[in-house]
Amino acid sequence: MTGTGLLYQGADWNFHIIRDCYKAIEEIAEKELGLNVFPNRIEVISSEQMLDVYTANGMPISYHHWSYGKRFASHENAYRRGLMGLAYEVVINSNPCISYLMEENSATMQALVIAHAAFGHNHFFKNNRIFQEWTDPSQILNYLEFARGYIARCEELHGQGAVERILDAAHALQGQGVNRHSGSRRVDLKDEQTRARERRAYEDSSYNDLWRTLPQSAEPHPVTDGERQALRRRFGLPEENLLYFLEKHAPRLAAWEREIIRIVRLMAQYFYPQPQLKLMNEGCATWVHDRIMTRLHEKGRIDDAAFLETIHSTTNVITQFGYEQGATSFNPYALGFAMMKDIERICVNPTEEDRRWQPDIAGNGDPYGTLRHAWAEYRDESFVLQFLSPTVMRDFRMFRLLDDTRDPYLLVDAIHDDAGYRDIRRTVAASYDPSAWYAEIEIVDVDSLGDRTLRLEHRTKEGQMLAEKDMKLTLDALADLWGYRVVLDEIDVPSGRVVASHEAQQRSS
């Protein structure tokens, strides 16, 4: 039924060819590599549509906002000026899993993209623990639809300006819209619409001390520590998810404004896993397409020309520039792919060194099983810590710099040798730790008995403060949503000292 001869010849493709390629690829992916994927949906689009998809972070639907217009302009320009080739594919973590193929691709590229996206990424989305925990692929498309509709309705009812004001402010706080430390709550994206309606009913029936408008008793009675604690508990403080807190407790927001904040928060949460899994995700997909295309060639399903084209485009993707070419970070495709290849090699054909470094997988003879396990159970940080081998470090010729601002120079304190492997590996892993990217900001207190000041803390080190200008703008946005004064203290964690304190008042809307 799947045939044996060449699937196609030349560059032209048609829907039959895509279907045949898909079948041949599926056979290899499932029978040989043991991949387990969401049902696939393949959509053919033009390059112009691809730009749209880019703009919306790969989402097929999104609400209207000027920031997308800006992103579109910058993508469009980069593309038109030839600075950026369009990605050959975009894939959406949804169920069914949607992969976009561009019509300009050659037949080989379409096959490659199917292997890469519809099987590589798809397997990763479905099996990686962090994706499983944080995202609900079966509901995301419905939710996007709801979000767009809801925001459009709000614009009709309350005006574009009012909606934009909330969206701008919420977008500024996006990075603080996730429960990073208190663990993920799997978002239930179902029934959002009914929930939106119920929210209003609930609010009518519930009571929030912040809403008190009656005059307080003339004597300001001293607040005991016990009372303070009780209040903090009631607000669930400390709270790292600023958007969540605002949605639930900001005293002056209307129900629709809370719902918009919730939409932004849920989107932020949906995208939260992606950056911390980028290395593995791309590594996995690239390895899968490389493996599958090689097998297709071995089985005589594609000809030499097609295979060379595959190699050519794979090589383009996995090029890692050195520091001299200005590279300041790792190309996730390059490092990811190199590590996957390396794991495969260690499982099948280990050296003495590998046996010392990776005793539990070296020579186990099950490369596919080992990779599948790694894809499921790790995130970039732990994956690097566990699997970055001396071989890969040598291949990339990695070295580590100590940048101490007290010194007038940068010190090379580890290179790819026995003494340096562990240091380098630790530092590379740490750079993939999400806590290295996100500012650790928490709401620590609400002065609910006084002037309703919202107090936040940024836990950091001296010398790693928030970027001043952005911080001020974001704090203003926060104050707007909260509706009262907001104070942000930056705390030097080692000493516990407050190094800086900022505040903002809400502007009249």
Binding site: I18, F72, H171, G175, A439, M465
Partner: protein
């Protein structure tokens, strides 16, 4: 697995977002447009173009940390010379962030300092002219109201009887009659006459009887056919159709007057040209019909085409009044003042033969200013212009300009000054009362 072909889905999903981004950065966009024009690429104005909006105007803030002091580690690739303990000079790229500051930018991604938007011609011009207004436009209120006039627009099958196009209708009728084979009345009459003749003969022979039978049959067939196929059928009717076409209610003519005598260098002509072009784009936007008349002059004046106007060099002295006379005669012949808005743009280096200046002034004051909407005189000066001070023509025009607000005079010595001058000349005036000293 499903394959869906989405290529035919609606495109341009981001048009609305784009519009909003432009709206948000309106001030920046306007400035960018102004800059684009001021930089002298006026010729491209007609094609729409890209404008760069500083990233500032579309900035999306957020909380993020920056490394300013302390110690940190950075892993880089591509080492082929360093050993442990080597000390490297800090890259010069500024401050404590130095080496790894770039590393962070890499993870952050969006390091753009400006966003480029490709504006269509209309968008561009709308922005360009947004804060400009033609002088005294208020006076001619019809400028904005569009009037329509009926104009012949083919034929239609129905209409009022007074619009019946008889010739056309008869032609269709005849075609139909021929096509359907309507018998001619003469043929019927002939047969009827024969029948009458035969009926009169008695006794009737057998052949005659047969003939009579045949003729009678034929007669009834013809009669039937005649009644069935009418002479004029409703399908033949054709009426003259009139459509209400918008009438170009505002027409403008722009006279470009330029001194092409030997003293005008190429550079000066180029400056003048920029002014003319800008004025042209501007008027084109405001008026449905815009004619341009190029008149060049040295000792004598003539009307020429655009190419000759700008590129054909002349030599000789300068007599400005000849150009004004030529302009008046062209205007009288082709552009009656009641029907046309008249704009005049004159560019010169300010030279004029002294004896001609009084005549120029009187022509201007009596013959031209009363009928034109606006008269802009720009004096392009060479590099040494500042020392030269006021030219004859300038002095003379200044006197007139003081009495006539719709004569504007400016001096320009660099292409960068063109646009500001243009803006100033046509700046929107709160009262609609045009005047600049």
């Amino acid at each position: 697995m499903d394959i869906i072909d989405r290529r035919s889905n609606p495109h341009g999903k981001n048009l609305e977002n784009r519009r909003r981004a432009l709206g948000r950065a309106r001030d920046a966009v306007q400035k960018a447009v102004r800059d684009a024009v001021a930089n002298g690429k006026i010729r491209e104005v007609g094609e729409g173009k890209a404008v760069a909006i500083p990233a500032e105007a579309l900035h999306e803030p957020g909380f993020h940390r920056v490394f300013t002091q302390g110690a940190r580690h950075i892993v880089l690739t591509g080492n082929h010379e360093f050993s442990r303990g080597d000390k490297l000079r800090r890259p010069p790229s500024g401050g404590g962030g130095a080496g790894g500051g770039a590393g962070q930018a890499g993870t952050e991604g969006g390091g753009e300092d400006a966003y480029r938007f490709l504006l269509s011609r209309d968008e561009f011009l709308d922005l360009f002219f947004d804060d400009l207004e033609l002088p005294d436009l208020v006076k001619r209120e019809i400028a904005t109201t569009e009037t329509t006039a009926p104009s012949r627009a083919g034929l239609s099958n129905d209409g009022s009887p007074s619009q019946l196009d008889l010739g056309r209708t008869m032609r269709y009728s005849m075609a139909r009659r021929i096509g359907l084979g309507r018998p001619k009345p003469a043929e019927l009459e002939e047969i009827e006459a024969r029948i009458v003749a035969l009926e009169d003969i008695r006794p009737l022979s057998a052949e005659a009887l047969d003939e009579l039978e045949i003729l009678r049959e034929r007669r009834s067939a013809l009669r039937q056919r005649l009644t069935r196929i009418p002479w004029i059928d409703p399908v033949d009717l054709r009426y003259r159709r009139f459509a209400h076409m918008p009438k170009p209610s505002t027409r403008a003519v722009m006279f470009c007057l330029m001194d092409v005598s030997g003293s005008m260098t190429e550079r000066m002509k180029d400056l003048a040209k920029q002014f003319f072009l800008l004025l042209h784009v501007f008027l084109e936007k405001r008026y449905k019909t815009l004619d341009v008349v190029f008149i060049r002059h040295a000792e004598t004046a003539e009307e020429v085409d655009e190419d000759a106007f700008f590129h054909d060099p002349r030599t000789g002295g300068t007599v400005v009044s000849t150009a004004l006379e030529e302009m008046i005669s062209v205007q009288r012949a082709r552009y009656p003042a009641q029907q046309w808005n008249i704009y005049v743009a004159q560019a010169s280096d300010g030279d004029n033969s002294p004896s001609d200046t009084p005549r120029t002034v009187s022509l201007l004051e009596e013959g031209i200013l009363p009928i034109v909407q606006y008269y802009a005189y720009i004096e392009v000066t060479g590099t040494g212009a500042i020392i030269r001070g006021e030219t004859d023509l300038w002095q003379a025009y200044r006197g007139v300009a003081e009495k006539n607000p719709h004569l504007a005079i400016r001096q320009v010595s660099d292409r960068r000054e063109i646009f500001p001058v243009f803006r100033e000349l046509f700046a929107r005036k709160p009262t609609g009362e045009g005047s600049h000293a």
